[in-house]
Symmetry: C2
């Protein structure tokens, strides 16, 4: 184990605890990020589902809510060309459910789903010069990346394989997030679309630590101080925790999502592409079971979202989460209804703080 | 974390290091087990593929090779009723490969595959009164289990879910092996056949540690001292390591299996049922890619083995591992051509020994 010394997350960012709150679009905004940053961790704002005006407002909330470092997170996929044929095939798969819920297929809008980082978004972010920006699905185009780095912002991105970790380091990231297959939400995979390459944190983390020299942040299955200690033992400079924050009062997790997380149902999750078009880990529900977990009919990310949206709305109106994405990692045992600051400090105790 | 104190593996067995060498049928016998036990770990003899005479000889080798505790491992599945229809369907799936390799389908013997623990096997084992017997796929029938425990033998078995861990504790095991999805070889799953329930070590281990009071042995993705430290941090009383031993000179791993483990191919493994009928993790090769990874046509464990055997033999005769099971966990980075004793001591250093 003659590893070169590398910076801890605290040294890299000047934060007290090596705890990154995972950005989770749809279930949290600036309130959770502020609470985590003020507690000494790194709070994250997920921006994939925000309008430009929403983005500006959330950044203003962050700036007024904390003087500590925070992370602004974007997806950076290439938006696909919509295909009428694929969309029609997807609607055929969903047709029995439209009928069941009385959804008029012709009234279904094709929503935007998730937006990638763009020059327009960079214009909004620039005045805030966040300490960190993290990306999912690789990195933005070189000129956009250079612009972000020019602000003095540290850049993180997720790797799900050793190859992706090496690619990210070669393209200039300041830290790699090693996303083990236990993690909830979207797989950050960008050099492969083969889910067979997606491996557990115990296997991925030490391989990534050995493969790159930048700090490595462990993600996937970490729910409490034991998990943080284990990740540090495997060579991580810090950890990223998502699922455990979902019951905090600062999260905007829906009541049905919270109920699923509190129940034994949370023990069975799957990587499914039926909600967005990309593999993402969530609690198995009717949509995942009957249409997925991995459907070849689902349009490319994020286009699959539009077809499911009216079903989700109709089912939720009846109090059912059967067609809602119930994102969760494989270890929901850390979920407690406690303030995010308390959770952050408890996780951070593992680092001897 | 107010956990009740529980025994370490060293306290439970009187061994020096909390390292169990995973039993791996087909790639090791008593030589590896002896080396590990003599180095202070717990060596294991896999018995699923041994005849009664072979079993006796291996146990005699163990007894003459070490005075330390060792583990005798059996599968304990209920042998299925062969189904002519399923076998015929399986042979139809394999027919193109029989033609490609010039295998005469009518000359194919239907081999036994893997045998479970029986009264006859217990008769052979009894005089040796091993310190430990470990089981895979649950536990043997109550009277057989009682007989084993009557020898003073400690009983271990694998759990792949919290439910299985609780079941094993309720049925009297002395330790639970929490088998994370990273692990190579057969999934020990016995209360479910849904692979979606199989989760990573980071998620499974702390949940099992919280769910039972007996010592928990971590398995899956542990390849070096960092991994051992991490498992102990997550509450494990010890670890079970398999893949890392596969290149040791005491293992009987084939040359083509060794070559695959040393190559980058070892980064992509899958849970596949095409070699035996049960999900088992191995390096992806042609058979897994084209017929699997999970085939609904594969006969019940262990009956799928017979149809593949002649293909495997024909391909191996041409120097190809395309139809051989190349069992491996998700982290083959611990594989080195060093004596098993050295590997065992290096793994054990993590425990401060």
């Amino acid at each position: 184990m003659n590893e070169p010394p590398r910076k801890s997350l605290s040294e890299l960012l000047g934060i007290e605890l090596p705890i990154v709150q995972a950005p989770m679009a749809g279930v949290q905004g600036s309130a959770l990020a502020i609470a985590v940053s003020n507690a000494g961790g790194l709070g994250s704002l997920p921006c994939a589902m925000l309008s430009m005006e929403g983005l500006r407002k959330e950044l203003e909330s962050l700036r007024s809510g904390t003087t500590r470092p925070y992370n602004v997170n974007f997806f950076c996929h290439a938006p696909p060309q919509p295909s009428e044929a694929r969309e029609a095939a997807w609607r055929r798969v969903l047709a029995p459910y439209y009928r069941e819920f009385g959804v008029d297929e012709n009234s279904i809008p094709s929503g935007p789903g998730r937006a990638p980082f763009t020059g327009e978004a960079a214009d909004v972010v620039e005045p805030f010069r966040p300490a960190v920006m993290s990306f999912h699905f690789g990195l933005p185009a070189p000129e956009l990346l250079a612009r972000v780095k020019g602000w003095g912002t540290k850049v993180f991105s997720s790797a799900t394989t050793v190859e992706e970790a090496r690619w990210l380091e070669a393209h200039g990231v300041d830290a790699v997030i090693a996303q083990g297959v236990e993690a909830g939400g979207h797989r950050g995979m960008f050099l492969t679309d083969d889910v067979a390459t997606q491996i557990g944190t115990f296997a991925l983390l030490p391989q990534v630590v050995s493969a790159v020299r930048v700090p490595v942040i462990a993600a996937g299955g970490i729910a409490d101080a034991r998990g943080v200690r284990a990740a540090l033992a495997l060579g991580a400079a810090g950890v990223q925790v998502g699922t455990a924050y979902l019951l905090c009062p600062e999260a905007t997790t829906s009541a049905m999502h919270r109920a699923a997380l509190r129940s034994d149902r949370s023990r069975v999750t799957a990587l499914t592409n039926v909600f967005t078009g990309r593999p993402s880990r969530g609690i198995v529900n009717r949509m995942v079971r009957e249409v997925g977990p991995l459907s070849t009919a689902a349009p490319e990310f994020p286009l699959a979202t539009a077809g499911v949206a009216p079903l989700r709305a109709a089912a939720e109106a009846k109090g059912s989460g059967d067609f809602s994405p119930l994102w969760s990692g494989q270890n929901a045992t850390g979920c407690r209804e406690i303030p995010a600051a308390q959770l952050t400090r408890e996780l951070g105790q593992a680092a001897g703080k």
